[in-house]
Symmetry: C2
Subunit: 483 residues, 2 copies
């Protein structure tokens, strides 16, 4: 994009009009773009590099738990998708169907996978005969399709990128343990790498995955309207899929049993979370651990006579930093330094180094942090030794700020009227006792559009009274609007 | 698979019945499996790990040339696919069509991408206004769909995994340079990482990519029937797609021009190449650089009293090797050592370490190479220092053996009768002069099923006479049957 006016127009105010700000920042920071295919978005290199860094870290963590990657077909024959009744009921309305291929009408339509349980479980049925073949621990990185007419880059689109893990176990206990383990992998990944604090908990019956016994979730609070974003889910599928797809095995005692399954997924909507949790009026603010560029160097000179010395210092600094950070030197000669500063702030690069004639004279760089806007001179000799510490400090600072936002906007309440007010005012998460009835849950959803995001693991010791009906309640839940 | 008889049955003879051997080795080594979706295969963890190692190395090489990854939609509206006439003519018969989504009939069918030029070029048209926006250098890793009723794992399936690179340039020269650069990236990757020698060259007009100006290819010779496998192609698309999709820009002189494009792809059929080039009667022989497991350790003891000392030595060896190699310890207690040796040979692990009581007593391991079957005792202290050298030697040895096979089965000929005999006898590649006419090309194809694999870059200085018609011919070509 060579449009010089891009930074003359200001971004929409992040507090005033968050939805518009989001759309603008995604486009101007070149994370994603519109696409000629209705419901989809194109992920541009800068947005994809962010996702690739996330993938690498999450993939490493998943593999550390003994899981291996594999690849199953994109298509699922209709009859196969239909075998688990709740599952197909949940997904059928969102499915894209292939009905023609190789110039012929198909005898049976093929679903483009909305999720892969129905194609993976039949394979597990082939691979499992004895308890010795269990557990099976497999993950795949792919794209899935769920029909969507009103896309929003990364958050909601007809096709999205994710990983989906699928395991099979000899006992329900082991499946439960794996389900919780993967939720913990997600929590650690999202908090450590993305600097996004989350609330881990369980979904209610009406919010759980279609076909699951239990669904666990991590829920994050976005900036702006303080809505929730479901950030990763892990499902204990019990033996529902094992029975339906015939994943049978002989246990240690020679008895025939059905296997227990889990599945768990995290998608590129976490790119959206990073945008919405950390961004500000100047644009993105990327956590250093996943930022495609951690340090951008902007050479500055006015007179051609200054150029050589500045370029030599820039090269020296870049070479010193390359072993410890992802560095980019912005040498464009058709943009002013001020224009570049704005652009790299918009793109959320954690650290900017300015190197001009005065810096060269003092053997220093001018370092500017994206998170605090703090400016400091650092000697070139010290820089490589200090940059890791500075990047770590920015990462910690982003997590602290997001944790403050979550804490300040989560309130324990005991009145339904207060909940209504808080939801209407986009005031954040409301924590309240709930009796466990679907009736109360549905009523709040219908009247306020807020849903139960989760039943947090972290619960008070004493029971209480349901916010809605006033009946005895054993547990608190988190109410909020969600993306 | 807990089927003990698996290794009692021998693999089919690699020379006698190569096609059957391939199917068996893919299944028994657990690289891939049948799938309930006609035309597709499931890639199992061991096969996928091999592909992941290939991906990592190729991705690194592609990025080193300045290319970035991105992601474009899976679907292409019919009218968009149809815009480049030759392109749609080439691909339409193989397309899978989505005609229904979200419970509605679509107004216009969507193709599941058979390749992505037709969805990427319209985006480039949006992104390019000035010569300053060029070049665009983008790659994506994805799956594509081309209708196929008779699949063969990795080599030919309805859905396959690959990378497709797409670039846009200001001049035809620059596009040509990029086309050749990426072919060289492929050549280096395939020869260095996969130990598969290739012949680089140009495709004839009738064999080039649908819509391209010129297609370059690297062609490898497979074992068994000595057929060719097209191993990577790189296309100079000229300005065909630029004109059709309106990728227009203002050049340095303020004149409006169309951009020049390239595209280039390499797929997981290279997993098939690794199987077919290096495999033998015992199964796979994986090149160490991409082998999921480079060293397998098999503990051996008869009496329980021997166990502790053996296990301690195994742990010591594993810990010493982990920083320098991908190591796996096979501790299964329901399999004999002999069974394990067979299995790991079948799975092609380059190095096996046997550690038994006698080894422990001598502070050594027994090392067995998969390529030469050579057995040697190595002191535990020396092992970590020597293993890299041994793995490098195996890699070099595989490449040397494959190069010998290619050289010994490539013959320069000047008689069409000899070509017919050689093709009928599965005797390998035949190098011969060709006049350049499509008539001669078509005749050979119709009469022998051999095709021109490429016009090699490496050409003799003198002209000659066409093998088929006897007319003057400026260049030699490679004739062969191909997968």
């Amino acid at each position: 994009m060579s449009d010089e006016r891009k930074y003359v127009e200001e971004l929409s105010d992040v507090e005033d009009d968050f939805d518009r700000w989001y759309v603008e920042v995604v486009r101007r920071a070149e994370l994603a773009d519109e696409s000629p295919v209705r419901g989809t978005r194109v992920v541009r290199p800068y947005g994809f590099a962010l996702w690739e860094n996330m993938q690498a870290e999450l993939d490493r963590r998943i593999k550390e738990t003994g899981v291996q990657n594999a690849y199953f077909p994109l298509f699922i024959p209709q009859s196969m998708l239909a075998r688990e009744a709740e599952h197909v009921e949940g997904f059928a309305p969102e499915v894209a169907w292939v009905t023609r291929g190789g110039n012929k009408e198909l005898e049976e339509p093929w679903a483009v996978r909305p999720t892969s349980e129905a194609i993976i479980c039949p394979m597990y049925a082939r691979w499992v005969q004895s308890y010795r073949d269990l557990p099976i621990l497999i993950n795949q990185w792919n794209s899935v399709v769920r029909w969507e007419e009103r896309p929003r880059a990364f958050l909601r689109s007809l096709e999205f990128l994710w990983q989906e893990g699928h395991t099979a176990h000899a006992t329900l206990e082991e499946a439960e343990e794996r389900t919780r383990l993967m939720l913990e992998v997600y929590r650690d990944f999202v908090e450590t790498e993305l600097a996004v604090p989350v609330i881990p908990g369980r979904k209610t019956e009406s919010e759980k995955f279609a076909g699951a016994l239990r669904t666990y979730t991590i829920e994050a609070m976005m900036g702006g309207k303080k809505w929730a974003l479901q950030s990763g889910t892990s499902h204990n599928l019990g033996d529902h899929f094992g029975r339906v797809f015939g994943i049978e095995f002989l246990d240690r005692n020679g008895e025939r049993r059905y296997a227990f399954n889990t599945s768990w997924g995290l998608s590129f909507r976490m790119v959206g979370a990073v945008i919405m949790v950390h961004g500000d009026d100047r644009g993105l603010k990327l956590p250093p651990r996943v930022a495609p560029i951690q340090v951008v160097i902007v050479p500055i000179w006015r007179k051609e006579s200054e150029r050589e010395a500045v370029e030599a210092a820039v090269d020296r600094v870049r070479d010193a930093l390359l072993p410890v950070a992802r560095v980019f030197v912005d040498r464009r000669d058709d943009k002013t330094p001020g224009w570049k500063f704005n652009e790299w702030e918009l793109k959320g690069v954690p650290v900017r180094l300015e190197i001009g004639p005065r810096d060269v004279a003092n053997d220093q760089v001018t370092l500017v942090r994206r998170d605090t806007h703090e400016k400091q001179a650092i000697s070139i000799t010290d820089l490589a030794g200090r940059i890791t510490e500075i990047l770590d400090d920015i990462q910690a600072n982003l997590f602290a700020a997001a944790s403050r936002m979550l804490a300040e906007n989560t309130v324990e309440i005991d009145s339904y009227d207060v909940l209504k007010e808080r939801v209407a005012a986009n005031a954040g998460f409301s924590r309240a006792y709930w009796c466990g009835s679907e009736e109360c849950e549905d009523r709040v959803k219908a009247e306020t559009k807020a849903t139960i995001r989760c039943i947090p693991f972290d619960q008070p010791e004493a029971p209480g009274r349901c916010l809605v009906c006033g009946e005895a309640a054993q547990q608190q839940v988190i109410w909020a609007r969600a993306y």
